[in-house]
């Protein structure tokens, strides 16, 4: 008897699995993955890495399990969503309630060999390509939710960048939820970078309405030798949304990764990044910023495995926690025997604005090599009184002085956004969020079509 059976959604899941076995012809290992889910169940708060995020309250709610839908083309995405980052030119892809939205074809194949589009369609046309990568990084399905995603996830995004191809235009994937039911969704994204290739990938998680929703997203990023991935994840979900987002990164020799997760809003958001530095000379920069208030909860988990020598990893997570909100950070660094000359750094800094805001932060270093440099640091504090005094002494009122200091605190993460238009917009979003203007921007993370005059005198966008 699995405890997960008590949840209303469970019956729908088993039904979906049966139906799938009876017909749906997709990639291997799905049946095994479902069995892993059945034996592991949903992650629960007795598990060390789930101590701070208890899903049981949410899982007890009624959800409608969304059968994995075929790609859709009869949706005018502009009707529900419009990205308005000025001068932000991207190749835009959209998932609406888990379904891949397309105009002409669910697959785009470019002259340089880049394949992008619906994961499901890529599988039917190039099954060997998908099977070569899918599930290779998920570590035997890390936990019950990842197993469930491997078992039942049939929709999602796929991009393949061949060797030596540099994708100049950032690729943007908007994961939008807008439905009248309370959806339980599984989304699987697979990103493959060939040798010496380059890609900038921007993932936006949005919701348009405030229905209860449960999103279980798993991303796999395969980064081959010498390749470079710049990855941004911008999360602006509504307060009723639960999102569990698990990203697996595999880096080969001399590969480069920058991943930056910015959480503006969300009911309960859990981000887990598992980074494997598998080849010598690989480097990963893992950043995060979370601005949390009311009763929101954000849990960032990072696992970095130094499996090869001469690799660098650098983690920086910062957050501002207001009202009754709570956050957790768990930074796990593992240096395997033989991974000499490792540099691994980790830092988590938090500002608590109220007595009732909560932070749990835990560095966890396992080092099995003797010639390494590793450090970690965690701080939880309030705004610096000396700095406040300095600003007010110049005439700034209390609220502006506080806001300026919060912005300055967040800026260390924002400054690492190298796409200028995205940097500007993010900076603007952060200042609006801090100013209390933006709880949930009406649509996209970066949709700022209505420009309320800001009380704050500084035009952050021009700094």
């Amino acid at each position: 008897m699995n405890k997960s059976e008590i949840y209303p959604v469970f019956a729908q899941l088993t039904k979906a699995a049966e139906k799938q076995n009876a017909g749906l012809d997709l990639w291997d290992g799905r049946d095994n993955a479902f069995h892993s889910f059945l034996s592991d169940g949903f992650p629960h708060s007795k598990m060390e890495k789930w101590r701070n995020t208890d899903l049981s309250t949410f899982l007890s709610k009624e959800y409608s399990y969304v059968e994995n839908t075929d790609p859709v083309s009869d949706v005018d995405i502009n009707q529900v969503f419009h990205c308005e980052i000025h001068n932000f030119e991207t190749s835009l892809f959209t998932l609406l309630n888990g379904a891949y939205v397309y105009n002409t074809s669910p697959l785009t194949i470019l002259g340089n060999g880049v394949i992008a589009g619906s994961l499901r369609n890529v599988w039917s046309e190039y099954p060997e390509l998908v099977n070569r990568y899918l599930g290779q990084l998920t570590e035997n399905n890390l936990n019950g939710l990842v197993s469930l995603n491997s078992a039942l996830g049939t929709a999602g995004f796929f991009i393949f960048v061949p060797d030596n191809v540099v994708v100049e235009k950032p690729v943007q994937l908007v994961n939008l939820v807008n439905t009248e039911v309370n959806p339980f969704l599984q989304i699987r994204n697979l990103i493959v970078l060939g040798k010496n290739s380059k890609l900038t990938f921007v993932q936006c998680d949005d919701s348009v309405n405030d229905k209860n929703s449960f999103l279980n997203v798993a991303n796999e990023f395969h980064i081959a030798e010498g390749a470079a991935l710049e990855h941004y994840k911008l999360q602006n979900k509504d307060d009723s949304a639960v999102m569990v987002n698990t990203s697996f990164f595999g880096l080969q020799r001399n590969a480069r990764l920058l991943t930056n997760t910015i959480t503006f809003n969300g009911g309960t958001t859990r981000n887990e990044s598992v980074v494997n530095l598998d080849g010598e000379g690989a480097e990963a920069n893992i950043l995060g910023l979370y601005l949390v208030d009311r009763k929101q909860h954000v849990d960032n988990q990072v696992v970095v495995r130094h499996n090869a020598p001469h690799c660098n990893s650098n983690e920086l997570f910062k957050g501002i926690v207001d009202d009754d909100a709570s956050v957790a950070f768990n930074g796990h660094i593992i240096v395997l025997p033989g991974a000499q000359k490792t540099n691994a750094f980790q830092s988590n800094k938090n500002i608590l604005l109220t007595d009732t805001a909560k932070v749990s932060t835990k560095p966890f270093l396992e080092i099995y090599a003797d010639d390494v440099k590793c450090s970690h640091g965690a701080t939880i504090g309030q705004l610096d009184e000396n700095a406040l005094f300095y600003l007010k002494q110049r005439g700034l009122c209390d609220s502006n002085a506080r806001m300026l200091l919060m912005y300055a605190f967040a800026e260390e993460v924002i400054r690492e956004i190298s796409i200028e238009s995205l940097h500007e917009r993010t900076a603007d979003m952060v200042s609006r969020r801090l100013n209390g203007e933006l709880s949930i921007c009406d649509q996209c993370v970066l949709h700022c079509s209505y420009e309320k005059p800001m009380e704050f005198e500084i035009d952050i966008t021009k700094i």
């Binding site: 600003l391 002494q393 110049r394 502006n400 967040a410 500084i458």
Partner: protein, 248 residues
């Protein structure tokens, strides 16, 4: 302009100022000198309104009871404190920071916000007065600045905000002689008949450039001796030992 009457200040039940009396009038330059740990910075902080002190006594600034005003109102009323350790604010350029400060102060006085053109003109003019390089202006406030650059930035802010009363807390500490000269010349050029300056310093050398009208020795929480610039010279020659002997 400023009257301090029988000012007692303690922090965590430790008495720091034990009855300070001081009067500063428009057009005057006062130097407050004294050995380390005698309460010089505390005096500056209490005038500016820093929290965390227990204060008794009276500070009247242009007819207003300063002790009842919050920090920002004192700033807007014309009090400027040049910090000994200016704070770094990453991600916010000096230009934007100062424009915010100028406009907050104008708002307090019931004036319209400064226009972009007028602000640029003001910056340009003051930049020359304190010889601040343009590239410094584009950087984040104090971030990665050298000691000299931070102090120069303090004087630049003072030039832009044009306070009635400027209190410079150990502006000379950590400066080499060239930086000291630039800072001091800036301060002298900003001096006007209607404003006043209080220079807090440990050494006489700053006073070679900013000639004080009055010199006060603060020792053990009290002003134990006042005089003109010759008092500073005497301190330079003889050190503080005689003060300690005479007033301890």
């Amino acid at each position: 302009m400023l009257q301090i009457k029988d000012l007692h200040v303690s922090i965590d039940n430790r008495q720091i100022l034990k009855g300070v009396n001081l009067e500063v009038n428009a057009g005057e330059v006062h130097a407050i000198m004294g050995p380390n740990g005698t309460g010089k910075s505390t005096l500056a902080n209490v005038i500016a309104g820093k929290a965390g002190y227990e204060v008794e006594g009276e500070i009247i600034f242009r007819g207003k009871n300063l002790l009842e005003m919050p920090v920002e109102d004192r700033a807007c009323a014309g009090i400027f404190l040049g910090f000994q350790y200016p704070v770094e604010i990453p991600g916010v350029s000096i230009m934007n920071f100062l424009k915010t400060a100028v406009n907050e102060q104008r708002k307090y006085r019931g004036e319209e916000p400064i226009s972009a053109g007028a602000f640029l003109k003001l910056v340009d003019e003051k930049k020359r007065v304190v010889e601040i390089p343009s590239d410094l202006m584009k950087r984040s406030v104090n971030e990665g600045f050298s000691g000299g650059e931070k102090k120069r930035n303090e004087i630049f802010q003072m030039a832009i905000l044009e306070p009635m009363l400027a209190i410079l807390d150990e502006t000379d500490s950590g400066l080499d002689i060239d930086a000291l000269r630039v800072v001091a010349i800036g301060v002298s050029r900003l001096k006007k008949p209607e404003n006043a300056t209080v220079v807090i310093t440990h050494y006489q050398r700053l006073l070679d450039f900013i000639v004080p009208d009055f010199v006060h020795i603060l020792f053990d929480g009290r002003i134990v001796k006042s005089g003109d610039k010759h008092l500073a010279m005497e301190l330079e020659k003889q050190g503080y030992d005689w003060v300690k002997r005479e007033f301890a």
